[in-house]
Structure formats: C-alpha cells, structure tokens
C-alpha cells in the first residue's frame, strides 16, 4: 500500500506538470504564433483604430440607428455568461417574452399580422450571442433606415452582405453578426 501511495503521488505530479502546465502552455504558444487574432479573442477595430469589441461576443444596442441584439440574461456582461434557465411553462418566461414582444412591436411599428421572430425575444444560451436571424434583422431594417436617413434597400443590402450561410449548407443556421453589421452601417454613413 505504501508503494502504491508513493507511485500515486509521483504520477500525480508528473501528469500535473505534463498536461496541466506543459500542454496548455504549448497550445498557448503555438496559438499565439499561428492564430494570434483568434487566440486573443477576435477583437474588432473600427476604421479609426479603436477596439470596439469582439466579433464573437454580442453587445447590447439601444439606439434606433443600430440593429438590436437578442435578449441576454446577463445584459451582455462579458464576465457573467449564461441562460435564463426558466422552465418551458414558467410564468416569468411568458411575462418576459410578452413584454419583449410588445416592445419590439412598438419600436418597429409592426402591423398586427407581422410575426416577431422568436430569437429576437428569447434569451440566448450564452447571454453573449453575437448573432440574430436574418428574419430578425429584416424586421429592424426599416427603423434603422429611417433613423439613419438611408433607403431601406441600402440597409438591406448591408444585412445581406453580413448574413453568414450555414457552413457547408448543413452546419448551423443562417445568421447575421450584429456588431459587424452596425460597424458597417457607421462606415457607410461616413463620407469617404
């Protein structure tokens, strides 16, 4: 038994060193060499050189000039990720979604027959979802166009340019990156 414990201690320390120190540091080193941008968090810089976020982490938008992101349990706090965890029959879930639907209808000035896509009023799993569905983007385009004095077609052209297809046609969903789209809107507004 004594020798068993001794081996266990030594094997613990050796594996700790190998897979707990050498392995992650090796991955960190290689990643920094060959994928430096991704390893640091895919940071996005605007034309004037300011870092305004990460292409993979969603942000909260409230201005009429911008497309809005999905509801987030943590309010897009980068240090508090997570879902609402509300059960499917939860009264709180129904109340929260009803309120969001009402707010969207009012903001976008929707006719009663126009549906509100579910992703725009349901909280994401991460609380940091960077995307909305193309349907949720199309719904917002007229309001953004009015606020920016642009034609709806121009805004929609940007939306389409920022719509990513499903990978290989079957992995994942068609989606629009909200931050990148909003940056493109700002860029389009600037005189060249």
């Amino acid at each position: 038994m004594k020798s068993r414990i001794a081996i266990a201690i030594r094997l613990s320390l050796v594996t700790l060193l190998l897979v707990g120190v050498v392995y992650p540091l090796a991955v960190t080193g290689i990643a920094a060499l060959i994928f430096p941008d991704q390893a640091r968090g895919s940071l996005v810089t605007t034309a004037d050189g300011a870092v305004v976020g990460s292409a993979l982490i969603g942000q909260e938008f409230t201005s009429d000039q911008y497309f809005h992101s999905r509801p987030s349990q943590g309010g897009y706090d980068g240090t508090a990720s997570g879902p609402s965890n509300l059960g499917p029959l939860s009264r709180d879930l129904r109340a929260a979604v009803s309120e969001r639907v009402r707010a969207v209808r009012e903001l976008e000035d929707l006719a009663p027959a126009v549906p509100v896509p579910a992703d725009l009023v349901c909280a994401s799993a991460s609380g940091l979802d960077p995307h909305i569905s193309p349907e949720a983007a199309a719904l917002q385009a007229p309001r953004v166009a009015v606020a920016r004095n642009m034609r709806v077609e121009e805004v929609m052209r940007l939306v389409e340019a920022h719509t990513e297809p499903a990978t290989f046609g079957f992995l994942g969903q068609k989606r629009v990156n909200v931050l990148l789209l909003n940056i493109a809107l700002d860029d389009a507004a600037q005189p060249r």
């Binding site: 594996t15 991955v27 940071l43 499917p88 509100v116 349901c122 349907e135 992995l171």
Partner: protein, 574 residues
C-alpha cells in the same frame, strides 16, 4: 428538417468511420504492441515510468488494480483541493478570485476527479486561471484516463482465462494520457483556436462598445481545456455558459467537432473490445445497440424542440416564422446553432457522460428535457463516458444473456464464460447503486425545505430540476437543469456524495467482474451457445436497457417531464 438529417448522418457517419481505426489503435496501445509506440511518445512513456518508479510489466489482480485507481484518484483529488482552496494566494489569478470555501471545494474536487464536472461554482468567478489550466484541465485528463483504464481492464478480464491478472493500472493510465488523450487534444485545441476559441493567459480586454458602454472581453487558456473537456467526456466549461459561450464553441463546425470528439473514443472502445476478445462482431453488436438508442433519443428530442413551446407562442413569439430550419424553441439557444445543432449536442452530451451544454437544458420543452434526463438515467450506456459507458453496456449485455438464459433454460454464457451468481450480484450492485442514489437523493431533496428553496422551477418542473441534478451527479454527467442553485450547502454536499457513490460503486463491481471472468476458462462455442452478436441480440440488448431504465425511473419521470408535457398541451403556466 433536411439539414438536420444531413447533419446527423454526417456526424454519426464520421463517428462510425472512426470506430474501426480508433479501435485498432487503442488495441495496439493497450496491448503494448511496438507498432503503436511512436518514436515521439515512447521515450516520454519510459521517462514517466522512471520518474514514478513504475514497473510496467508488473501485472495486478483486480483488487490491486482497483485500489491503485482509487489511491491515485484520492491523492490527485487532495492536490486539487489544496489548489482551489489556496487559489487566492497563488499566481495567475488576474481577476482576483478568492479560494473556494470547504464545501464548494469538496464538491468541485469530487466532481472533477469522478469525471462528472458538475459545477457548483461559475467558471468566471469561482476558479482562477491557474486552477482552470493546471488543476481542472489536469483532472480532465486523468479522470478520463481512469475511465479508459477500467474498460481496458474489463476487456482483458474477458479476453484472458485462468489468471488473476488484469493489467497494470499505472501503465494503462499513463498510456491513455500519452497515446490517446494528449495528442488528440493538442490537435483539436488548435482547430478550436483557428475557429475562434481563445487561448491566452491574459485577464481579458476591457473595451468601449459602439454605444460607449464598457465590456470585458474575457481571456484565458480556453481552447486547451475545451478539447479535453469533450474528448474525455468531462464537460466542465471554462465559462458559466459552457459550450454555448462563443469563446468555447465559436462556430457550427466546432459544435459538430465537439460532438464527434465526445462520441469517438467511447465508440472506438467497442471495437477494441471486439478485437481483444477475438471477435469483431461482438464489438459491432454493442455499437449497433448504442447507435439505435442514440437515434431514438435524438429523433424524439428533435421533434419536441422543433414543435416549439406553446407558452412562447402565447406570448407572441413566432417560433416558425423562419425560411431556414431555425424554427422551434429558441429560449436558451444560440442563433448560430439553432434547434437542430443544439439538439444533436444535447443528445450526445447526455448519452455519453459528458455534460457540456450548448443550450439551456432547463428551458427545453418537457419531453426533450425528459429525454436528456432519460439518457443519463439509462446509465449513460449509449456510447457513454470514456470507458465506463461501454462497461455499463457490458453489464446490460450480461443481464440480457442472463435473462435470455432464464427464458430458454440454458446456462448463461457471455463470450464463452459462464455467468455465475457472483457476476450477476456485482452487476445488480452496480446498476442499483447508481439508480438508487438518483431516486433516494431526489426523494430526500423533495423533503428538504432548503433544497426546495434552491429551485427555480415549480410544480413538475421543480421535481425535474431535482431529478436531473441527482441523475447527473450519480451518472457522473455534470450537465444541469441550471435553474437549481447548485451552490447551496444541501446540493453541494448531497451531489458531492452522489457523484462519489455513482462513480466508485460502479467501478469497483465492474473490476470485480473483470477479475472474476479473468479466472474462468472460456468454453468453446457450441451448438447450444446463445449467440451474442447479430440482430437478435442487439434487439434483446436494447430491450434490456429500455426495460430496466423504464421500470426504475418511469414513476418519477411521469410526475416530472411527462406531467409537464400534458400541462403544456393544456396551455397551463406555472
């Protein structure tokens, strides 16, 4: 619909294609063939043996094997305990995380040592970079290696006869880490980084958003932990949101790769089993039973989630207003993944004992959440956790043979070995220990006021949260109906105990069976032998798994997810 079908066929197809080569490789590694020992790794293996003073050709009997595993788990657990208690004083703690309190640390240690990765703390605020990188990543490797070692020893027990020896636990653990887990994790983590998973030692970047708010873009060595998290069916996320977090699982491609990584080793082990016992068909039979159960569960979950949640519809959310395949219940799901990719992940993570999540399981529609729970309750034998999943399926195969033997009046035999009362007793002990822990644990919680206060859901959903928690703990899964507050003292202690019981009251009987079969002489196959391969046995095996699981858990499930489903149909909110 079509893209989901293509996705499922593609992912399961890749897993099936990998099964044979992986099985061949695992066989070579664990039987110590020279061909498997690459020039790069073999010298490292020898250094490990020399440093640890391990005599590689010294074989152990089952008691020696199991006590080595337990001593190793205990010692490494004690080291981890020290690390996370003292993390506040140790380096690489940029965000100033304090040491975990004794009870939370106990829960965390048990959780990572038993390959559960239930998290009573949140990744962002409960563990320092050092704890995550050195402590938790390390345990991800060695707890997975422990699981693989159990299956390798069991396989040897079936393949050998008239010996007490079932291998050397130190050698099996070392080889599982060096030849299997480490090289694949290295490659996988770099693919994850290429796709956008982060890998740095920084504290994160504080930025000013377009609307002039500040936001912290987190940092950390995430990709390296992510790779072994899925490959070792561990499941503990670097961040609270686990694999839903864009820095853990940035694209639909990484999502599919994570599913493949979860399923690959458990599937490959079935093939290794067949090779060791000298009959490939035996491995493919177990594989087929697993695949059938997987597809049943996947289909059910997809149909339920795709139909959506009437409560959301009542609230005015249009769940089917999409041109693509995004429609369905989107509460607690990511846009890039939608319903289909999330459901594939949810089925996989509960079928194997991974426990990583890309969608909020608590917000799944009742039957989908119930199926996730059922996958865990069936014993996670559908591919299952690395090693222990196949060991569980092996026990069901023993039961199936035993039941068939009773029906037709033959002496039950599996792979030429007579099944005696000792093996059946140990099998029943293993099956009962896990399911007993789940039901008694959830029952106790239902009678404890502080445990009920920690729930987010009410009515049948509250029961589901408790059932899921204990199933996840005892089954060493680690995913959760996240509304339940796992950090409360009752759950920190009770789930900690459930994880220990579920792990060791399973491993000990399994290795006992391995030792007992190793001593038996394999009889030649005769006309009277009940064949344990082919469609008939697959059917029998699937039936055994479903009947044992259903009989044990149906009453509890009918008060939880099934009742909730009918309430949903009736338009009730709780």
């Amino acid at each position: 619909m079509w893209s989901f079908l293509v996705l499922s066929v593609a992912v399961l197809g890749v897993v099936t294609l990998l099964t044979r080569p992986l099985g061949a490789y695992l066989t070579a590694v664990f039987s110590g063939e020279r061909s498997a020992r690459s020039r790069l790794i073999a010298p490292l293996e020898r250094i490990v043996y020399r440093l640890c003073r391990i005599t590689p050709d010294h074989e152990m009997d089952w008691a020696g094997y199991v006590s080595s595993l337990i001593v190793f788990n205990a010692v490494s657990g004690a080291l981890l305990y020290g690390l996370i208690r003292l993390q506040g004083y140790l380096p690489l703690n940029q965000s100033g995380v304090a040491g975990q309190d004794a009870l939370t640390a106990f829960n965390t240690v048990v959780s990572f040592v038993t390959n559960t990765n239930w998290q009573a703390y949140s990744g962002e605020s409960g563990a320092s970079t050092l704890s995550q990188m050195t402590g938790l990543t390390w345990q991800n490797f060695i707890s997975a290696a422990t699981g693989i070692a159990v299956m390798v020893a069991l396989t040897r027990g079936m393949a050998r006869s008239k010996t007490r020896h079932i291998g050397n636990a130190w050698v099996d653990i070392t080889r599982a880490v060096l030849y299997v887990l480490l090289p694949i994790s290295l490659a996988l983590s770099l693919v994850f980084v290429a796709q956008g998973a982060i890998q740095n030692l920084g504290a994160g970047t504080v930025i000013t958003t377009l609307e002039s708010d500040t936001q912290t873009i987190p940092g950390g060595p995430v990709a390296s932990q992510e790779a072994i998290k899925v490959l070792g069916t561990n499941g503990g996320g670097y961040f609270g949101a686990n694999s839903a977090h864009p820095f853990e699982n940035p694209t639909p491609l990484t999502n599919a790769l994570q599913v493949i990584a979860m399923l690959a080793i458990p599937a490959g082990l079935t093939n290794m089993f067949g090779r060791f016992v000298g009959d490939h068909r035996q491995g493919w039979t177990l594989f087929a039973a697993m695949l059938i159960l997987f597809c049943l569960s996947l289909t059910g979950m997809y149909v339920a989630e795709r139909a959506g949640n009437p409560v959301l519809e009542q609230a005015g959310a249009a769940q089917h207003a999409y041109s693509g395949s995004a429609s369905g219940n989107m509460e607690g799901k990511e846009t890039r993944l939608g319903v289909g990719d999330s459901v594939l992940y949810a089925t996989s993570t509960t079928a194997v004992s991974c426990g990583a999540v890309v969608a909020a399981h608590d917000s799944l529609t009742p039957l989908a959440g119930g199926l996730a729970m059922l996958n865990i309750m069936l014993g996670e034998v559908v591919f299952g956790g690395v090693g222990v999943g196949l060991a569980g399926m092996f026990l069901f195969a023993l039961l199936a043979v035993f039941i068939a033997g009773l029906m037709v009046g033959r002496t039950p035999e599996y792979l030429g070995k007579k099944i005696g009362s000792r093996e059946i007793q140990l099998t029943i002990l293993a099956v009962l220990a896990v399911s007993g822990t789940v039901l008694i644990g959830a029952g106790t919680a239902a009678l404890t006021p502080s445990a009920l206060d920690a729930l987010l859901g009410s009515g049948p959903h509250g029961l589901s949260e408790m059932l899921y928690a204990f199933a996840s703990g005892a089954g060493n899964n680690g995913s959760a109906f996240g509304g339940l507050d796992a950090a409360t003292p009752f759950y920190a202690a009770a789930i900690g105990i459930a994880m220990l019981l579920g792990r060791y009251l399973f491993i000990i009987p399994v290795l006992g069976i391995a030792g007992s079969f190793a001593q038996k002489k394999a009889a030649e196959e005769s006309a009277g032998t009940f064949p344990t391969h082919g469609a008939l046995f697959v059917t029998l095996l699937v039936g055994t798994v479903l009947i044992v699981g259903a009989l044990t858990f149906f009453p509890a499930l009918s008060l939880g997810p099934i009742l909730e489903h009918f309430l949903m149909q009736a338009g009730t909110v709780l």
